[in-house]
């Protein structure tokens, strides 16, 4: 495949039907009202020269290259900033226009280095292209006058350079930073000839608020902002469309290569999830795939104290199969199990759960979603009937009020965070429920209407109080409830009880009653109000209850079933949704169908030729407990680092140490592999062939840009292991796995690689009734029929602060790092976050004698670790925060065994701790 270049129509599309007819160079074209002349011309197949215009940004009208003649209009207006009008007649090519454009280009080139042949952007430079388009042949002014050619280059960012000497001050980077990313880190300082792009207050890019999303690099029409990889490797020559392997947004990218070497990842404009935007991880942090730490050969050892021994695939698979069968013979069929990975493709996940169910002969399969969004699956299934978010990302563009609970999208889901910020800048109101003052509470051009800074662990009390206001102040959407829901009266009596009033729960949540009432009214009275939430909802002892509480709130106010509303989980990893869809839970077969359902089991038993147990298997925490009681002896861990990511590290490692066989399949020797007997090397997303499903149920293709560096696809390894255990399991390629998924799983009935290649992506359910997929759920009725109201009693967590452990620790993520950091720690992203730090309020620091940068001990009743302190008043008094990206810190050494009552999802967000200084300031 050659290099993919999406068409650029110059200015953004305008909504609405095409109703305005204009004539451009004699061609009739019909476009929506508000469309620019430039875009109308482009839609008629006429390219108007331009430099400052691009269709991802609002028109600016600065370069004066896109001038046109319009009948009845004076002068030569800029086509980018001139909207069409009925009957307008436009000419884009006249002698006068040609002369004007050449004059403009002459001025630009008189202050631009003429090093095209050695410039990294040679062949990919719009300035170069425009010089050709306007027929520039000479620069009459010479090159000796005052110029910017010796402006310094800012190389502070690890991924791109800013060569000010090549800047044409078109402001595309400045506008991209504001309009697309919403960070506003860049500006044009100075006036006239002295105008120049400045990062922040005039320092370097790294010193500024720049989040390195790459939007400025993408927008730059010259080589001023240029990827260092392009400078080093040269321009790419071919593209492969694929999907990012980081967060649950699931951005589409063009992997641009020279040969088999990835030069850069460029966000794809037609990507349904990201529409041409990216973040620092997806755009730049792909170097881990070729990091020297990658393990490419299988390895074995008899004991975990032995050194690893590289072996051939045949020996590794044969040994693993023999040991698994021996353990089952000695300790029973249920003594072994597997964990699927939310970082792997749907096809790989499906293969692993099939291996467990058909070859292992049990349901001991679980997935890392257990420790993040399993309460979403439970709560939304109980209330709405399906375990998934209700909307597509685009829906937020229609939201009038956004209720953001326990999520920090500008760090954890940055591309969606940018989309949300754009809607907020357009006027949507924001309510943030979060103990911390996250960036969205107040950032450039955004200020939350309400920040409900609740105490960790009190989510359910808060959501009940919001619903109490709705019910007692007459804000219920009775028509919706009567028509669409059930069990409302019982719930209404429950929620109207005085104990749920904002005044009654203020002492529990710490949120002033009047603030909470105002927030409830704002949410309930908006034409469209949408809930977005993250792990701050799910990773609690009442995570599932809280999901149901939010579902109640949305139903009571009629905020379900159309654009701009809904209950939307922001999923953590790239394929959390997909790994759950694919039957990774021990109680569910693919498509969220319980293993006790005879008809469903029969579908798989007929196809697989094996009996499937009708009883649920062990969940991940249950596997650890069973390992310690001796009834669970072997674990296949597919692409997850449970020794770093799961709570109470001492408990996890004790369980792993107690097992007779631990098999790890991963890119790197991670923390879990320290307890492993078999290491099977995995493939990076650049080598995978398959699909990921993002947080909006969008199934996207993951296409290989190179063959597996290990020699095998991961699903092939799984098949070979199953075969070695005596179960014939075989596919010729990943497409065949998706075909099997489609045959067995109704929501995927219409999904195939052919269809995805044809239409780009689809959102499940995708079947005969919805062959192009389903962006919005529950439009005419809930998946379960009637939406079900559930009473949500607030039960305080048993994890309480004490005199010994007086602070509450909550954990989370940061923009530049991802999950356990196995990938991002092996990229330039360490420039932003080289270690985990402990954020705490100045008061909590002061009373403990802690200064910013001090090494501090963080202790809970289960363990202790140390890390540097960061004093920040965005933390509330009594609450501290850290991330779990670095194994050296091991934040989960201190997290506890508490978990969500319904799903066993760990309570990462509430741990009683003490913090003490242990070292001098750095």
């Amino acid at each position: 495949m050659s290099l993919i270049k999406e068409p650029d129509l110059g200015t953004p599309a305008r909504p609405g039907e095409p109703t305005v007819a204009v004539e451009i160079d004699g061609k009739e074209v019909l476009v929506p009202e508000g469309t620019s002349v430039m875009r109308a011309a482009a839609e008629a197949g006429i390219d108007i020269p331009r430099l400052c215009a691009t269709d991802s940004l609002e028109p600016f009208g600065s370069c004066r290259l896109c001038l046109v003649d319009i009948d009845g209009r004076k002068g030569t207006p800029a086509s980018c900033t001139t909207p069409v009008a009925p009957g307008m007649k436009v000419r884009t090519q006249t002698q006068k226009l040609a002369k004007l454009r050449r004059g403009v280009m002459e001025l630009y080139i008189s202050d631009h280095p003429l090093d095209c042949l050695t410039c990294p952007a040679n062949g990919d430079c719009e300035l170069q292209d425009m010089a050709g388009v306007v027929g520039l042949r000479e620069v009459r002014y010479g090159f000796d006058g005052e110029n910017h050619l010796t402006e310094p280059t800012d190389s502070s960012n690890p991924y791109f350079d800013f060569d000010a000497g090549k800047c044409i001050s078109c402001s595309r980077c400045v506008r991209a930073c504001g309009e697309v990313q919403g960070t506003f880190a860049l500006t044009i300082e100075g006036r006239g000839f002295a105008s120049k792009v400045a990062a922040g207050a005039g320092g370097s890019f790294m010193e500024s608020d720049c989040v390195s999303c790459g939007a400025c690099v993408q927008a730059c029409p010259t080589s001023t902002l240029q990827e260092k990889s392009v400078v080093e490797l040269g321009m790419p020559t071919r593209s492969v469309l694929t999907t990012c392997a980081y967060c649950g947004v699931g951005c589409s990218f063009k992997a641009e290569l020279r040969g088999d070497e990835v030069v850069r990842m460029v966000p794809y404009k037609d990507g349904g999830a990201n529409e041409g935007h990216s973040c620092v991880k997806g755009r730049f942090a792909f170097g881990y795939a070729s990091h020297p730490d990658r393990r490419l050969k299988p390895m074995l050892r008899e004991r975990i104290t032995d050194p690893w021994r590289e072996v051939e695939w045949e020996e590794a698979i044969g040994y693993t199969a023999r040991r698994l069968l021996e353990i089952q013979a000695a300790h029973g069929t249920g003594a072994i199990g597997g964990i699927t990975s939310s970082r792997c493709t749907n096809e790989e996940v499906y293969a692993v759960q099939k291996m467990v169910r058909a070859a292992f002969g049990n349901n001991n399969v679980d997935t890392c979603a257990r420790v993040c969004h399993s309460p979403t699956g439970y709560g939304l299934k109980q209330t709405y009937g399906t375990s998934a978010g209700t909307q597509d990302f685009k829906s937020v563009d229609k939201a009038d009020v956004i209720l953001l609970i326990g999520a920090n999208p500008t760090d954890a889901h940055p591309v969606f965070g940018s989309r949300m910020k754009r809607r907020l800048r357009q006027g949507a109101r924001l309510i943030v429920a979060d103990p911390r003052r996250i960036d969205l509470v107040r950032s450039p051009h955004i200020e939350a209407a309400h920040h409900l800074a609740l105490a960790p662990g009190t989510n359910v009390a808060l959501v009940n109080a919001l619903a109490h206001v709705v019910v007692t102040e007459g804000l219920v959407d009775r028509a919706f409830v009567n028509d669409r829901c059930e069990d409302f009266e019982t719930w209404e009596r429950f929620i109207a009880q005085p104990e749920h009033s904002p005044e009654a729960v203020a002492d529990i949540t710490g949120v002033p009653a009047d603030e909470l009432r105002a927030a409830a009214r704002l949410y309930a009275t908006a034409p469209n109000a949408a809930i977005y939430y993250g792990l701050g909802v799910t990773e609690h002892s009442q995570g599932s209850t809280m999901v149901m509480g939010m579902a109640n709130l949305a139903m009571a106010t009629g905020n379900i079933g159309r654009e701009g509303v809904g209950v939307n989980p922001l999923r953590g990893q790239n394929n959390v949704q997909g790994s759950c869809d694919m039957g990774s839970f021990p109680h569910e077969l693919p498509g969220y169908r319980h293993v006790s359902d005879d008809a469903v089991r029969s579908v798989f038993e007929t196809l697989w030729g094996r009996t499937i147990l009708a009883e649920p298997g062990l969940r991940i925490p249950n596997m650890f407990d069973a390992a310690l009681d001796g009834s669970f002896r072997a674990l296949f861990v597919h692409g997850e680092d449970i020794a770093q990511s799961d709570p109470n590290t001492r408990h996890v490692t004790a369980a792993l140490s107690a097992m007779e066989l631990v098999v790890v399949q991963d890119l790197f020797l991670n923390e879990t592999s320290k307890f492993a007997h078999v290491f099977l090397p995995g493939t990076s997303f650049l080598e995978k062939d398959g699909t990921f499903t993002n947080a909006e149920r969008r199934i996207n293709r993951v296409r290989p840009v190179m063959a597996p560096r290990t020699g095998k696809h991961e699903w092939q390894i799984v098949c070979e292991l199953a075969q070695a255990m005596g179960y014939p399991m075989k596919w010729d390629d990943a497409a065949q796995i998706m075909d099997e998924i489609a045959v067995t799983t109704p929501a995927f009935a219409g999904v195939s690689f052919d269809r995805l290649d044809r239409v780009g992506s689809v959102q499940w359910p995708c079947d005969d009734a919805a062959p192009e997929g389903t962006p919005l759920l529950h439009v005419d009725g809930f998946v379960r029929g009637k939406g079900r109201f559930v009473e949500t009693v607030y039960v305080p967590t048993e994890e309480r602060s004490t005199r010994k452990y007086p602070l509450i620790l909550t954990t989370g993520r940061i923009l530049s790092q991802y999950n356990v950091g196995a990938q991002t720690r092996r990229t330039g992203n360490v420039a932003w976050h080289p270690e985990d730090v402990l954020e705490l309020h100045p008061h909590d620091a002061e009373v403990r004698g802690i200064r910013d940068g001090d090494l501090v001990a963080l202790a809970s009743r289960v363990g202790e670790t140390s890390l540097r302190a960061r004093i920040d008043d965005r933390m509330p008094v009594g609450v501290v925060y850290t991330t779990f990206h670095h194994p050296a810190t091991g934040a989960n050494v201190v997290t506890t065994e508490h978990s969500d009552w319904a799903t066993n999802c760990p309570e990462y967000k509430v741990t009683a701790v003490q913090v003490t200084p242990v070292g001098a300031r750095r």
Partner: protein, 78 residues
């Protein structure tokens, strides 16, 4: 001084579930919790719970004891 043995996971989990259903009529709550355990718990965990309830293990929530009576008895020890 003696140190109390840690509460086994199945007991802690079951007590935690019982706390969520305490507002319900006890008989209904027991039925709903039993249904939950049948749907989400591995049989060996349910068996451990039933065995503990039958043995009168201290620390089990009374509601959990009622739930245990709705679950099948544990298999005989080999």
């Amino acid at each position: 001084m003696t140190t109390a043995a840690p509460t086994p996971a199945h007991v802690r989990l079951a007590n935690g579930i019982a706390a969520q259903f305490r507002h319900r009529d006890p008989a209904t709550a027991a039925e709903e919790i039993a249904a939950h355990l049948r749907a989400f718990w591995d049989p060996r965990m349910r068996a451990l719970l039933v065995a503990d309830a039958e043995a009168g293990r201290p620390g089990l929530d009374p509601l959990v004891r009622a739930v245990a009576e709705l679950l099948p008895p544990p298999p005989p020890r080999p």
